[in-house]
Amino acid sequence: MSPDFTPALSLDLGATPPGRPDHGQRPAETGDTAVHDVVIVGSGPAGYTAAIYTARADLNPIVLAGSVTAGGDLMNTTDVENYPGFTDGIMGPELMATMQAQAERFGADVRYEDAIKLELEGPIKEITVEGGEVLRARTVILATGSAYRELGLEDEKRLSGHGVSWCATCDGFFFKGQNIAVVGGGDSAIEEATFLTKFADKVTLIHRRDEFRASEIMQKRAFDDPKIEILWNKRVIGISGEAKVEELSLEDTVTGEVGALPVTGLFVAIGSDPRTHLFKDQVEITAEGTVAVDARSSRTSLPGVFAAGDVLDSTYRQAVTAAGSGCVAAIDVEHYLATVKA
């Protein structure tokens, strides 16, 4: 990390992960590559909690944290007020830096690398990382989280970065004194809308139904905010503008009536989809698109392959449920390794 590019937090993302003795590695059954006990793919609350538990169990986990996604979704948030243990809340990036440090304290090997190919069948799994290195492991924990959903409109990509955004904390700054919109109805949509009122003159919250999914406390914040106007039963069907966003086309979901809303920005917060593209042909996937697991465990349809966090959860999707899920996966890994090594 360059001195002139110091992050506000002591998250040392550019550094080489701390070395550690390879005492947990044993010679491979075939070939001479080390076979690790566990590789964790992903570094949100699920991945890091799984790393803390497996590291404390002396399994020397390798965490593929991602080259640009380390820390997961919470890196794009501000205050986290509902993660237990922090009376006054904590900033999302700070929470993730703390979790990482906690995992590393017990010897987790956190690497800022991306998994690009997973071979999950058989007793030894192969994980190929960007650049071509292949890691071999007895178990894999899939903690890849979820990816922001897009509206799927023609001009959405073209105007992305020119008014269309998925990250209020990154981009709110560019909309000082402007009139912008947020689309969505969950906690994250309302969080974005209230955050954006710090910059914008007016934030129109567009929701396709006549009530929010968001928690009561978040809803109250939106209703009480004089800068937020709520448009119920409206769907964004078009975004227009030559070089940047100028206007949205909205369709009333009840009457079908179409109208225009002039805005200079649109923040999309309509949920996310489990990130399963690396392994969806290998492990069973549910109708909701999440990784299928056995009852309350983290066991996927393949032995030695476990899942944790939002990738298996389309319902709760909280930092604390993801962390709990990472703990479950770590304990399942321990049990599995005890069986296969017995």
Partner: protein
């Protein structure tokens, strides 16, 4: 250790627009989480393709005129300039291979 130099509004003309080779510009800010991820990725590109391109950083907080001039409303925004014109633009934090692919025509042989 960073290979990317900080460029401000007054230096932009000479360092970027009149540069004798393609320039990758990283528009960033302190408060942007994903921007922190892009820094090291661009540092790697800068050192591996040092002969073909130059990499610089523009802090949008301190240099709002430039961000406004190029219509930037999302960061990290990574723009490639050649002969004074924007040739490529990439929005969001992307891995090194993705950026190298997008900027391939300007990166030269490795």
């Amino acid at each position: 250790m960073s290979n990317a130099i900080d460029v401000n509004t007054s230096e932009f003309e000479t360092e970027v627009l009149q540069a004798d080779k393609p320039v990758i510009v990283d528009f960033w800010a302190e408060w942007c989480g994903p921007c922190r991820m892009v820094g090291p990725v661009l540092d790697a590109i800068a050192s591996e393709h040092a002969g073909s391109v130059k990499v610089v950083k523009v802090n949008v907080d301190d240099n709002q005129e430039i961000a406004a001039k190029y219509g930037i409303t999302s960061i990290p925004a990574v723009y490639l300039f050649n002969d004074g014109e924007v040739q490529k633009q990439s929005i969001g934090a992307k891995p090194k291979s993705a950026l190298e692919k997008e900027f391939a025509p300007y990166l030269g042989a490795q």
